[in-house]
């Protein structure tokens, strides 16, 4: 969990990104980088544009200007599925579970692009070990899971694709306290195994405690960028976000 190598090419880079919803200007000249192997978190108040940033990275909204580079390739005009194919995975806001597919099928959807049957099976086992609750519910329809169960499923589904980069939008939302801790544990493990993570999280204390670096977004602009330890110490930030 040491600092990244600034000389390496970033896995993900946003340059001067401007995003609109209809006529409303949301992201304003956003610049950020995520280097391979990093765990970066994006903080910000409600409505500051965090989810919008993730949507822009994923291609669910198209920036009016600026570039999104993934692994050295400009992808801002590519489709979402293309980006996923290049190695992104996502734990989306609102979970976006396939409501009328079973839990198992939802997990299989995570591995949609993969063809290695045996290894998919392995990964599935691993996910079910991480979230034993899902194993109990394997044949239940995704849409009938409780909120927290869905969150677990969304996490598990993202893991199934063996991505290079996981984008997470509030992965611990709606989870019981016990699970929140477990969840962060898992995130950290995945990261240590080499997967790069870019995470939006409201639970800023916890997030920063496992992150390498962080950005702070406010009203659509990046207002602060630093390594995690420094952010945790930042007086302003603590007052504004950390609640103490």
């Amino acid at each position: 969990m040491n600092g990244h190598d600034k000389s390496a090419t970033p896995l993900l880079r946003l340059t001067d990104v401007n995003t609109y919803y209809g006529q409303i200007h949301i992201l304003q000249d956003v610049n950020l980088e995520v280097y391979p192997g990093e765990l970066v978190c994006l903080l910000g108040g409600n409505a500051s544009g965090k989810s919008t940033t993730l949507k822009t990275i994923l291609g669910l909204v198209t920036p009016a200007s600026g570039t999104v580079e993934f692994a050295g390739e400009e992808v801002q005009h590519r489709s979402t599925s293309y980006r996923i194919e290049r190695g992104m995975a996502v734990v989306p806001e609102n979970r976006r579970i396939f409501a009328d597919m079973s839990v198992d099928e939802n997990l299989q959807m995570g591995a949609y692009l993969r063809n290695d049957k045996a290894e998919i099976e392995q990964d599935r086992e691993r996910v079910l070990e991480l979230f034993p609750r899902l194993r109990e519910r394997l044949n239940q329809l995704g849409g009938t899971l409780s909120g927290g169960e869905q969150q677990m499923l969304a996490m598990g589904r993202a893991l199934m694709s063996r991505p290079r980069l996981i984008l997470m939008d509030e992965p611990s939302m709606g989870l019981a306290p016990l699970l929140v801790e477990q969840n962060f544990q898992i995130i950290r493990e995945i990261n240590e195994q080499g997967t790069t993570i870019f995470m939006v999280e409201q639970n800023a204390n916890m997030a920063l405690s496992i992150a390498d670096r962080g950005y702070v977004l406010q009203t659509g602009r990046i207002v602060l960028e630093d390594v995690a330890e420094n952010l945790l110490q930042n007086e302003q930030l603590r007052k504004a976000y950390l609640g103490r």
Binding site: Q23, G45, L224, K239, Y241
Partner: protein, 507 residues
């Protein structure tokens, strides 16, 4: 990085500044409309409407206006059901039919009943509401497209019954003496010779009088529906359309709301039905078939679902466009102007349009010259351009004459420019049409400007050729092809309807 107080949120202060300005058709209409109070807007509408018979004594124009008024009234009713309450009702036309047939039964020699209009109209409107309510009852169990099919079935059943109930055995009905089967509807021959609307001795016999009645009813209905929509009822309908369960949980009785929407829509339809029957002085089952339903959906969706001005605009488009296209010369003009406008929209640096048109013109002449030298006998003889120009006299008539003969002039110029083959024009036209469709499909996929321009040159040539030798010769068919294309293009251009607001469906 600008100095900002972290933790505060400036969206609110910055909101206006962040709004990218963009001129919008919708803003244009509403910007103007919003300056006026409601009565002003409706008054303006009435004024414009009343102006039609003053402006033209041509009964065809008045008939178009009258049809628009009627379709708009129906559209407003349908809009309550589909636009506000979000119920996909495909049986709406049946209520219109019920209104019309009810009028026929209450005001004709067929039954021998001649009730005064002042009585029939409220009676039928209430009847419509009641039937709408009753049809709504079974529909409560159904959602979405299951509702659609049941209502569609209802509409079909209505038409079928009106067509077939010609030999009904009524001997089982007590207190009714009939000899043999009874003809209840006169089948496809319809019920004819209905009374005109008469109110306090004023009898609406002429088209213009009927038109004015329709106009007044339209405005009253608009007022009524507008008021409904801007009340707790309208809010509840829209809430229900968005999320039925949440609406229910917020204290809105969704079943009742649906029934109310059905009933109100049906009442308006039945009212429109009486106006229709009284003007046509007859009712036929064929008046109420699916084609009318299609038109009505066009009326409510084209303008923008849920928007009352949208309904008006939709009615104008759905009725006026096909009528204008009846005149093949006008259609020609529209065709060429439309093509050029489409080019202007399609090609980004606008000045390239000029270049393109120049190229097209040159290619056309080249083809003409080549064809003439190789197959001198295979080209059709053409009118000289000069012959269609109106006689030169320096007067105002000259200007109007030019305008009048503009379509002819355009056609004539085009026909002189094209190399029009004699012989089996039909076959040549069909082949050209096939190639043209493929070319258009290809052109629409090309992103690169140069390639696009190159593809468009033969496309434009073929477009003119196909029009001249194939399409313009078959007015009625061409008209519907045109209508189809207009519908597709309008929807693609404004997916939310011309005056509709952007809505999001899921998040």
């Amino acid at each position: 990085m600008t100095e900002q107080r972290i933790g505060t949120d400036e969206w609110v202060e910055q909101h206006e500044a962040r709004l990218a300005t963009q001129s919008e058709l919708r803003e244009l209409v509403y910007g103007f409309g919003e300056q006026l109070p409601l009565w002003g807007r409706l008054g303006l509408l009435l004024l414009i409407g009343l102006f039609v018979p003053v402006l033209t004594s041509n009964p065809f124009h008045i008939r178009i206006a009258a049809t628009i008024a009627l379709m708009a009234t129906l559209g407003v009713g349908l809009n309550v059901v589909v636009g506000y309450a979000g119920l996909l009702d495909l049986g709406f036309v049946a209520f219109y039919g019920i209104g019309a047939y009810a009028y026929a039964y209450l005001s004709s020699d067929f039954t021998g009943v001649h009730l005064p209009t002042l009585l029939t109209i409220p009676l039928i409107t209430v009847l419509g509401a009641v039937v709408g309510f009753l049809l709504g009852l079974p529909s409560l169990r159904l959602v979405g497209d299951y509702l659609a099919i049941v209502t569609l079935a209802f509409g079909q059943i209505f038409v079928q019954l009106m067509t077939s109930l010609t030999r009904v055995d009524l001997s089982w009905v007590p207190f009714l003496t009939t000899d043999g089967p009874v003809n209840l509807t006169r089948g496809p021959n319809g019920i004819i010779e209905l009374d005109s609307i008469s109110i306090f001795g004023f009898v609406a016999d002429t088209l213009t009088e009927n038109y004015i009645i329709r106009l007044v009813v339209l405005i009253l209905v608009l007022l009524f529906v507008h008021h409904l929509n801007n009340s707790r009822l309208g809010r509840a309908w829209r809430a229900m359309r968005e999320d039925e369960l949440a609406a229910e949980a917020m204290g809105m009785p969704t079943r009742l709301l649906k029934l109310q929407a059905f009933a109100i829509g049906a009442a308006i339809a039945a009212l429109a039905g009486t106006l229709f029957a009284a003007e046509q002085k007859a009712v036929f089952p064929a008046n109420f078939d699916v084609t009318l339903l299609i038109t009505l959906y066009g009326v409510v969706v084209l303008g923008g679902l849920g928007s009352l001005p949208g309904v008006l605009l939709g009615a104008v488009i759905m009725i006026a466009v096909p009528e204008i296209l009846r005149d093949i010369e006008l259609a020609s003009l529209l065709f060429y102007v439309g093509s050029v406008v489409a080019l202007i929209g399609l090609i980004k640096p606008r000045r390239l349009v000029g270049l393109l048109l120049l190229n097209v013109a040159i290619i056309g002449l080249l083809v003409q010259v080549i064809a003439e030298s190789i197959w001198p006998d295979s080209l059709a003889e053409l009118p000289s351009v000069a012959s269609v120009f109106p006689e030169f006299s320096v007067s105002i008539r000259f200007v109007t004459a030019i305008i009048d003969s503009l379509p002819e002039i355009v056609t004539s110029i085009v026909r002189n420019w094209l190399a029009i083959p004699v012989g089996n024009q039909e076959l040549i036209g069909n082949i050209a049409l096939a190639i043209l469709i493929v070319l258009i499909l290809i052109a629409s996929r090309i992103k690169q400007t140069t390639q696009l321009l190159i593809t468009l040159v033969p496309t434009m040539y073929l477009l003119a050729l196909v029009w001249e030798i194939r399409l313009s010769g078959q007015e009625s068919v061409t008209r519907l092809i045109f209508v189809g294309v207009v519908l597709i293009v309008l929807m693609i251009y404004r997916p939310h309807g011309l005056l509709g607001t952007q809505r999001i469906e899921i998040v």
